[in-house]
Amino acid sequence: MIRLLAILSLLSSSFAYGAELNAMQLDQSTIAFISRQMNVPVEGAFKKFSVQINIDPARPEAGRARIEIDLASIDAGSADANDEVKGKSWFNTREFPKASFVSSAVKALGGGRFEVAGKITIKGKTLETRAPFTLKQEKGVLILDGAFPLKRLDYGIGSGVWSDTLVVADEVLVKFHFVLK
């Protein structure tokens, strides 16, 4: 009897939570970043990106993600900066219009926190990275929230005169907020 109840509860939970979600709500999702200029935090964001996430809230470890960012859609905080960062010494968007992230693994950190590992490609350079994130279910949607530091100079973002990290810090905090159904 107890065994039957256990099986039933397993079944019902798999019916309730076993579905993999993959419908991105792009209009509610954001990819933003905070750079530091003369130690002044400056907020920016990318307006155009495509995201494919397949995740089962009951088994986030099996989740996978593929993200492509249209780098020319950047808002770096001011019109001046937007022009500047599309140029050669920054993103060089003419030659490298897109940045991408492809996940390789997700692991649970406990307490509703997870960490995704994967590869980021920017300006033709691919590096392994890890980003912690949280999962939250509310009103029929699943919300992924996370942030991780990215070292811009690892990818050659802001080279030449801009490589002075006392003016623009090497570390940029990248924040993502994805909503899916």
Binding site: Q37, M38, N39, V40, P41, V42, E43, G77, S78, D80, A81, D83, E84, V161, W162, D164, V167, V168
Partner: protein
């Protein structure tokens, strides 16, 4: 009539220090706002903001000091309209030296760039990012500065006129060594 009473040394030091900082911040502001984006521009903008915050703080100190220390009297020979003009210019200068850093601070916030004093102490953003408001505040900041430029010219011109034409010793109230030279 020679006015020998001078300002207190604290008032004199603060006056000249603020004057020096304004003479640095003003051309710096003009120069940097015409520059294309570069690391140097980001540095200069920060230095300009740090100067502005320092000028504001020193001016608050001056006002507190002045509230407790009566300035030396003006020469008896000065006409009523001259006294009125003197007080008006002094009051307007104080007003602008307070208002200009405030407008710059608000403008920075509206443009989405917080002011971080000496790169260490972040000042709160009283208003959120708002491009249209930022552009208006930039105009306000510039206009107030040109207003101050006019007042400073009047202020310096009057001081020189008193010193070289009226020879009433009024400049020695703020430059005591002039008095000592005279007494030699």
């Amino acid at each position: 009539m020679i006015t020998s009473a001078r300002y207190t040394f604290t008032a004199i030091r603060l006056h000249w220090l603020v004057a020096l900082l304004i003479f640095a911040a003003f051309p710096l502001g003009l120069t940097m706002s015409d520059m294309a984006l570069s690391p140097l521009k980001l540095q200069l903008v920060s230095y300009h903001k740090w100067l502005g915050v320092t000028i504001f703080l020193l001016t608050v100190a001056r006002l507190v000091w002045r509230a407790k220390h009566t300035p030396p009297p003006l020469p008896d020979a000065m006409l009523a309209w001259q006294r009125t003009a003197t007080h008006a210019v002094h009051h307007l200068l104080y007003l602008l030296i307070i208002a200009i850093p405030l407008s710059g601070w608000l403008m920075s916030s509206a443009k989405g760039f917080q002011t971080v004093y000496f790169g260490v102490l972040p000042l709160p953003d009283l208003i959120g990012k708002d491009k249209a408001l930022g552009d208006i505040l930039k105009e306000v900041h510039e206009l107030l500065n040109y207003g101050m430029l006019g007042l400073v010219i009047a202020h310096v011109g009057a001081a020189l006129k008193h010193h070289f034409i009226d020879r009433d010793g009024i400049l020695a109230r703020m430059l005591p060594f002039l008095d000592k030279e005279k007494s030699k």
